[in-house]
């Protein structure tokens, strides 16, 4: 978000920012390669590998069979012999066919080997719904990945972070699950939340993994979001400002490691917490953040922490059913008002 100012602005979509980070790192480091379904000639269903196949060729930009278990497992083998693979799981909803290669293999090799065989790889995967793609193409599953040890998990909310987190992820000696939200991607066919398109420096920079961002400073209530819900929280903050409620918006950016300090500092300051998450409500991210506040900022809490999340039901197809279930600015604002006793 805090781009240098001594240059003309360059607004990019998240898709372009990801592709640029990949291209720049592939130029810099011959051990980086990209694999996945339709990430080659097509340039990625979500545009995040566009141009790579043309520039780097079929050996470094590999279109794979529909064999997620094999090519994610293959990425681990490549990483163990000195490559830095970036693999794409097209939709996070598909994790069920290949989770062993992710959570038992990529995530645990470093530990099982006592540090002999770290696994420097990135797993990019798309998340989120809201465009009518139904229950097997609209999930977020942030909690599912964050719950299991050995892999880092990042969730960019804008193009600047998307590039900086991708460069950090590729250079990280550990497996990093890079979860990008379709509504932020900047592909015309998916529509795009405006705030996700922002100024991206052309040069090399990293956004550290494990640091949350304060997307908007405030005094009265802490709104925590990740990915798409960061933008909903910012909408809510605008609304609340008109009513004299000064909300602080935190963009988690990383789930693993989780920047507990930034969240706690804010909650200790405001005494009020609302968590917004478009993943399923129970046993996930929203619960963990609320628990964190309860455990470690109990004395500072002035009101019951609250959450706005997707309910514990499969994601329905019909817009008449799906849209009302999604977190948005109004729901977050309402929860914040209640937390501030202004309901």
């Amino acid at each position: 978000m805090n781009a240098p100012l001594n240059r003309t602005k360059r607004n990019l979509t998240v898709a372009k920012a990801m592709a640029e980070a990949l291209a720049q790192e592939m130029r810099r480091d011959p051990s980086v390669l990209v694999m996945g379904e339709d990430i080659g000639r097509l340039g990625g269903v979500f545009g995040n590998t566009r141009g790579l196949f043309e520039e780097f060729g079929a050996a470094r930009v590999r279109d794979t069979p529909i064999s997620e278990t094999a090519f994610i497992g293959a990425a681990v083998g490549m990483a163990c012999v000195g490559m830095k693979p970036v693999v794409e799981l097209m939709f996070v909803d598909f994790f069920g066919v290949c989770m062993d290669a992710i959570y038992n293999l990529a995530a645990k090799n470093c530990y099982f080997s006592g540090g002999q065989s770290p696994v420097p790889m990135v797993l990019m995967t798309s998340t989120g719904g809201g465009y009518g793609d139904a229950g097997q193409h609209s999930q977020c599953l942030y909690g599912t990945f964050a719950h299991l040890p050995g892999m880092k998990v990042v969730v960019p909310s804008n193009a600047y972070d998307a590039k900086g987190l991708m460069l950090s992820a590729i250079r990280d000696p550990n497996p990093v699950v890079y979860m990008f939200h379709k509504a932020l991607q900047g592909m015309g066919w998916l529509g795009t939340v405006k705030g996700a398109i922002n100024d991206v420096p052309e040069d090399d920079y990293v956004v550290p993994i494990g640091k949350a961002a304060i997307a908007r400073p405030g005094r009265d209530v802490t709104l925590v979001g990740l990915g798409a819900t960061v933008h909903h929280a910012l909408d809510a903050a605008e609304e609340l400002a008109k009513e004299g409620i000064d909300a602080e918006v935190i963009d988690l950016r990383s789930l693993v490691p989780l920047d507990r300090e930034t969240v706690l500092a804010s909650v200790r300051k405001t005494g009020r917490l609302v968590v917004a998450d478009d993943d399923y409500r129970s046993f996930g991210v929203s619960g963990e953040i609320i628990a964190l506040a309860g455990e470690s900022a109990f004395a500072a809490l002035k009101a019951a922490p609250a959450r706005v999340a997707f309910p514990d039901i499969p994601i329905p197809f019909s817009p008449a059913l799906e849209r009302p279930l999604l977190p948005d600015g109004a729901k977050i604002a309402a929860a914040a008002r209640a937390a501030c006793g202004k309901a």
């Binding site: 279109d63 064999s67 465009y131 009518g132 039901i313 817009p319 059913l321």
Partner: protein
């Protein structure tokens, strides 16, 4: 096994119904998505995978099935659903996300379920294969003469579920057919770039089951081989693998720019449109007369028009209905 004249006419009519249905869906899909194509907009949001050109696979196999037989299809399900006898009105309404849809709008185009005819489909590659094996095993265990059929694309033949399902079906001698609709593409990836061998039927030998590859996208050839396989299965002969060469006349999903397709490929395939081919053949062989053809054509058009009109005018579900049917 040769189709009777009635069966030929049924296949022709069903292919036409499927084609007209998809033409109507395609038209509705683009509403609200022009000039700017945003999948979230219009009466039919989300991805839309059309099966235009692949109708022979559906009718040649389903001609041998009745409502009690169990079929799973893919993310590209319309032609198979129609051939299996899924309620056309309720199917259209589901695709439009309406309360009157098969699932009240919960599933949409990739999740069409009609329990009355034992039809379902899914959005995950290969996901329907295990269920087909299980349904078939249940039929066998209960001594019923029913069969199950799992339709998949050629790209799915490289997914682990394919291997596990075929082996399990063979071990259990389950009455199931695995039908590969080989349209040569998995989204933008050509079969030759994803599959170690050109003919997936050879993979049947890895499970000791018969395998057949059918060139030419010919519904009559499909009818012949599928008929024998279904009969074998009903008689306790176990599973069969069939790969059918077919044509994807549209993009992977609507909105696909198809930049990856070789110059002229689509035009070439459209010139071999299986519906036109069957029509010519039936007229030539005298199975179909001009008037009868016209009446079949209009019957198909009318059935679709009625279903689409009903879907358009049907009410949307109320928001609270989203919370229903999570559990039985």
């Amino acid at each position: 096994m040769k189709p009777t004249a009635d069966q030929l006419r049924w296949m022709y009519r069903t292919m036409l119904t499927s084609r007209r249905f998809e033409e109507a869906v395609a038209a509705a899909y683009f509403e609200g998505k022009q000039p700017a194509f945003n999948m979230a907009n219009g009466p039919i949001p989300g991805e839309m995978h059309l099966s235009n050109g692949q109708e022979p696979c559906a009718v040649g196999v389903c001609a041998h099935l009745d409502a009690g037989d169990f079929v799973t299809a893919t993310h590209r399900p319309h032609h198979v659903a129609i051939a299996k006898g899924v309620n056309l009105k309720a199917m259209a309404a589901e695709i439009f996300g309406k309360k009157t849809g098969l699932s009240g709008g919960r599933g949409g185009h990739m999740h069409l379920f009609d329990a009355k005819v034992n039809f379902s489909c899914a959005g995950i590659i290969g996901e329907g294969m295990g269920p087909a094996v299980g349904a078939a095993a249940a039929f066998r265990q209960r001594g019923e003469r029913r069969v199950a059929v799992s339709f998949i694309g050629e790209g799915a033949a490289n997914q682990g579920a394919f291997h596990e399902a075929l082996n399990l079906a063979a071990v259990w001698q389950a009455p199931v057919l695995f039908v590969i609709e080989d349209n040569a593409w998995g989204i933008s990836v050509a079969k030759k770039d994803s599959t170690a061998i050109a003919d997936n039927a050879l993979r049947a030998a890895a499970y000791g089951m018969p395998g057949h590859r059918l060139p030419g996208n010919d519904p009559v050839a499909v009818f012949d081989i599928a008929g024998e396989a279904v009969a074998r299965a009903r008689n306790g002969g176990g599973p069969t693998l069939i790969e059918i060469e077919t044509y994807r006349l549209e993009g992977h999903f609507m909105g696909d720019a198809e930049g990856y397709r070789p110059e002229g490929e689509v035009a070439g395939l459209k010139a071999k449109d299986p519906i036109a081919a069957l029509q010519a053949r039936l007229l030539k062989d005298g199975v179909l007369g001009k008037e009868e053809d016209a009446s079949i054509q209009s019957a198909a058009r009318d059935a679709v028009a009625v279903a689409i009109a009903a879907a358009r005018s049907a009410p949307y579900p109320e928001a609270r209905e989203a919370y229903e049917q999570v559990f039985a």
